[in-house]
């Protein structure tokens, strides 16, 4: 069990989302950066990498573990401490009953993911626990005092992620042309590819809004309502693109100029106010091969490690932000060297 001592700015339960109910008007929901949730799950040894974890937005919660567990943090960089000891991202961490995890600010992206061994157990709605901020389905936004059911674990299995991705200062998202490109002029599309856009502060889990407007031909207009997909770049009458995220309505009526490829949906879910963004066109074959690469990376980049290796990695990862750990690191390394002799 986990007790939520402080819920943080906006902490949600997320999993793979609701699949198979869109014809009832039900949004997909699920982790905005799904690859990061899957990584976090794999880092705690969850064979099902779509198990429910926490999606931590902007600033994180304070959680007391009432039972032993194994946790991992992935996604955007999160400053976190377990009983005052800084925690490294992208690796498993053994937690003992009674310990308190304090999550600080999220940076280099807007969403971090916390997974625990066995997942967070709570009844789902339509096959998912995912908080759907638009429809109100799933677990409510986390509140102070909430209790989250987890499976007690004394696992000594450990894993770490070999090459954590960095988001970078200017983000490029790969797109394929949308289904309604014939409604736009060729100029609109090339202008779209040439522009550097800024993410608007009004962005949420339904969509990322962009500040800059495209020049549109008068013919664009609106469509009869039709099904939409995550990653669709909708262009309403004012010319300012909106990129759809998992909580988007199942149908929509604005023409779609381009669609962000599936392999880039994770980075799409990390966009926050003020970030700079460009689009690059790829072919459908390239889109598919990038997705295969990402899928392969989930298998090959997460590797098993013993306790000593995880501790050494953790000290190495934290040395930049926490110079006070350097002495500990030296001590630790010399101790291990002694042990080897």
């Amino acid at each position: 069990m986990i007790t939520v001592l402080a819920a943080g700015a906006r902490t949600l339960l997320q999993d793979g989302g609701r699949i198979g109910y869109a014809h009832l008007g039900v949004p997909r929901a699920g982790a905005a950066d799904l690859p990061s949730l899957r990584r976090a799950n794999r880092l705690v040894g969850n064979r099902n990498d779509l198990m429910a974890g926490l999606e931590i937005t902007l600033s994180g919660p304070t959680l007391r573990f009432e039972s032993d567990s194994l946790l991992a943090l992935s996604g955007a960089t999160l400053a976190a401490e377990l009983d005052g000891r800084p925690l490294a991202m992208h690796q498993s961490v053994a937690v003992q009953a009674g310990q308190t995890l304090v999550c600080g600010r999220v940076h280099e992206g807007v969403r971090s993911y916390l997974a625990v061994r066995g997942g967070i157990r709570t009844p789902g709605v339509l096959g998912s626990v995912a908080t759907d901020t638009l429809s109100g389905l799933g677990h409510p936004v986390l509140c102070n005092g909430d209790v989250l059911e987890i499976e007690p674990t004394h696992s000594t299995d450990g894993f770490y992620l070999r090459k954590p991705e960095r988001l970078g200062n200017e983000i490029t998202l790969h797109v394929v042309p949308g289904p309604h490109t014939d409604r736009f002029s060729e100029q609109s599309f090339s202008e779209f590819l040439a522009h550097t856009f800024t993410v608007h502060a009004d962005s949420d889990r339904a969509g990322v809004r962009l500040v800059e407007a495209l020049q549109l031909p008068a013919s664009v207009g609106e469509l009869p309502s039709q099904g939409m997909v995550g990653g669709a770049v909708q262009v309403p009458g004012d010319g300012r693109p909106i990129i759809l995220l998992p909580d988007h309505g199942a149908t929509g009526g604005y023409p779609v100029l381009a669609v962000v490829i599936t392999a880039d949906h994770g980075r799409l879910g990390q966009l926050g106010a003020g970030m700079k963004l460009r689009f690059e066109k790829v072919s459908r074959d390239q889109a598919l091969s990038l997705l295969r690469q990402q899928e392969q990376g989930l298998e090959t980049d997460i590797v098993a490690a013993d306790e000593a290796l995880l501790e050494a990695r953790s000290l190495m990862m934290l040395a930049h932000a926490h110079p006070e750990l350097r002495d500990l690191r030296m001590h630790n390394i010399s101790r291990r060297v002694r042990l080897r002799r």
Partner: protein
Amino acid sequence: MNIRSFGDAALLIELPDAQAAQALCQALLVGASAGIEDVVPGFQSLLIRFDPLKQDAARLAERIRNSTYSLPFSSKPVEHEIGMHYDGPDLSMIVQASGLSVEEIVHRHSRAVYRVAFIGFAPGFPYLTGLDPALHLPRHKTPRVHVPAGAVAIADQFCGIYPRSSPGGWHLIGTTDASLFDADRDAPCLLSPGDTVRFRALP
């Protein structure tokens, strides 16, 4: 039928009308196949979302082109009567835009027999066709941030009901207590495509 790619994980099938979209949707839901995740009927289209690692887009398009599906709806349509209060905040605006009196608007709205074309926008939100042409109005230029649950609204050729409070750009003409969506029910949506709906004015 015209089939377009919609990104790398969906196909958009353009169809003549909502009924054709529903028929193909039912056929696909019944014969669900590996890799198909969601089917979303629209007014003149059907969107098919699939897992591109499990389903090849070209092969799926080919299969749909060759599929036979029967019209009309497989299950028997239900007739609903929904009680509502004509107390919407946009009534006076509709009076201005249409040139009709409130009594006339209520009369025209409540005498019509509507048909559920499809469910979209939000869980359980019905797109109802059959709205009196005198009441066809373009949606608000700036959508409301907060439309209350149960709001009965009109826009273009459609009448709709907001199952829960949400943002929305339609003209609000009244409210109903009907529960349009409940995830705990066997059939979460009160209304299904093909059903008919009449509104009864409550005092």
